[in-house]
Symmetry: C2
Subunit: 86 residues, 2 copies
């Protein structure tokens, strides 16, 4: 997918998933650095209804395969680091 | 949940989700720093079958509510930072 196109498309996602894919809502996951394959599979599942969520079903419905590839590429490209809890 | 108990319980998860919750498999998500509520909800969904995945259904089946709370507390406690792709 195209990272820049995904970044633009992802502006709609930022309200719950944050501008850099770190969640801003207790029931929304971080998307930053998620594996591209995993992200695309979840978006397809929300689009088809195989995976159900009130908001995500609505968000995913209009996405094209290209949108999904671009969004997955964008969030996967965000670099994440993890440290143990102190 | 109890972070240390969750850390111990999470050793089984590390093979796909990594020792610090950064995925080691293309089809497995990062769990590091995910919101506690979200993680617990997904584990319950895998346990009940509301969310389906071949491996996760098996992994979640034997988990008690306490296990789920501890696992969610552990992964949520891992500190993550995100940088834009360079």
């Amino acid at each position: 997918g195209d990272v820049e196109a995904g970044r633009a498309k992802a502006q709609a996602c930022a309200v719950c998933h944050g501008p850099l894919g770190l969640s801003t809502a207790p029931d929304a996951p971080n998307l930053a650095g998620q594996p591209e394959l995993y992200l695309a599979a979840q978006l397809r599942a929300y689009r088809s209804g195989a995976r159900k969520h009130e908001v995500m079903g609505v968000m995913a419905k209009p996405l094209s395969d290209e949108d999904i590839a671009n969004l997955a590429a964008w969030f996967a490209a965000i670099r994440v680091e993890a440290q143990p809890p102190n």
